[in-house]
Amino acid sequence: MATNFLEAAGTSGFIATPFNLMTTELNALASTANVVSSVGGTSGVFTQTNFANAIWGEVQFLAGGAFTPAAGGYIAGWFLLSPDGGSTFERANYASAVDLPRPPDFIIPFANVATAANDVFMASGLVRLPWWSTKLYIGNRTGVALSASGHVIKCGPVAIQY
């Protein structure tokens, strides 16, 4: 019998409640600066449990206040993978403006327009979530410093079913 592949309903479309990948780490993050998660999950480390074992997620940036990205500005995000369950991670102590030497796991593009509190900016497309324990590495490539406080990067796990 034919069966339709469908998006799993979950709650508001998510199979687990969207959770914060980054919060205060983003406060006043300077232009071109990089930062590693240290607050969400367990001291900034996320596991499959955090991701509800989902394979895909929707990532969003929730603005905490006003800043005006330069034309073409974006935030790049990498999952820093840990091969040993959360003790050691991919190298992340790079200088300002230096990207990880592999493609990012997601980018969040911005328009050249001032943001306001609670503005939502979605990552460009569906994001494949990591199997391994991970931290999040963010590069501020918006061309300006983020404003003082209140910014959040969230991940909402999604799934399909049949």
């Binding site: 895909w56 990207d99 493609p103 969040i108 328009a111 497309g125 569906l126 049949y162």
Partner: protein, 280 residues
């Protein structure tokens, strides 16, 4: 057993806004050395991992087109380059360079994609145009350009490919069709060249007359064939795997439980539509 099945409709429209990876099993990916792909927010070199950045303080804005969103270049505006990679510090045949674009006004002696050096006109190979109907496929720092006339390139999707076949043979393809050949040796040593969009100069602005979108720029260390050039125009993203593609491969893999009693050929294509079914 997993049975990946790529179900997306082939075509010139970027299928998704997400970040893809290269399907190295695909024949078109063989010897791919640089692939700068506009993911809708920035250009990423999916081979070498680098991310594009503006060559000067002149920024590039974004926009949406009917073939996908991404950087929207403007005549006289900014250019984007990818980080240097030693894979391309000496361009010797066989090699192939390709890019696709959608422009809304005529370029004037401008460049879409090239390997650029630090001087305004030091570019070993490039895809360029002198006007809306005069195309220029450049080899060997301009010493062996193939020029040809095209119908107006405005407001539609186009593909330019230059192939260095040997030290005595080059070919230019436009929209998958051969436009001419050359005999000058395209070999050039350029240790500092970097893949660059909308400028002949990797740290300045020169020939930045593109008004529209540059969807990708690529370099192979082999000569693409005529059939590959056509396929690249008709289905430019056929060798990319998007996260969305893998939804179906996972589901199908979980459904198939009976032993296989049939055999698929590795690939078939009628030019407009192709399907790849691989079992392992």
């Amino acid at each position: 057993m997993q049975l990946p099945v790529q179900l997306r409709q082939p075509g010139k429209v970027k299928p998704y806004g997400s970040i893809p990876r290269i399907n190295w099993r695909h024949p078109l990916a063989k010897n791919l050395a640089v692939y700068g792909y506009d993911v809708g927010g920035t250009v990423i070199d999916l081979i070498n991992g680098g991310m594009g950045f503006t060559t000067t303080a002149t920024a590039v804005g974004r926009g949406a087109s009917r073939f996908g969103s991404g950087y929207k270049y403007t005549n006289g505006g900014g250019a984007v380059r990818l980080p240097f990679t030693p894979r391309i510090n000496s361009v010797a045949p066989p090699f192939s360079i390709a890019c696709s674009f959608f422009v809304t006004s005529a370029p004037a002696s401008g460049v879409f994609f090239c390997l650029a050096d630090t001087s305004a006109f030091g570019q070993p190979i490039y895809c360029a145009a002198d006007s809306a109907t005069a195309m220029r496929q450049g080899f060997n720092n301009g010493g062996a350009d193939i020029t040809y006339t095209a119908s107006s390139i405005l407001n539609d999707y186009h593909t330019m490919i230059g192939v260095g076949v040997s030290t005595s043979s080059t070919i230019a393809y436009f929209d998958g069709v051969s436009q001419g050949t050359g005999t000058t040796d395209p070999t050039v040593s350029f240790p500092t060249a970097a893949p660059t969009f909308n400028s002949f100069d990797l740290d300045g602005l020169s020939g930045n007359t593109t008004s529209g979108f540059l969807y990708y720029g690529a370099l192979w260390t082999r000569a693409l064939t005529a059939s590959e050039a056509l396929q690249l125009h008709l289905d430019p993203y056929c060798f990319l795997i998007y996260p969305e593609d893998e939804i179906f491969s996972t589901i199908v893999g979980s459904v198939v439980t009976a032993p296989q009693t049939f055999t698929f050929g590795p690939r078939w294509s009628d030019g407009e539509f192709s399907t790849e079914i691989v079992s392992y």
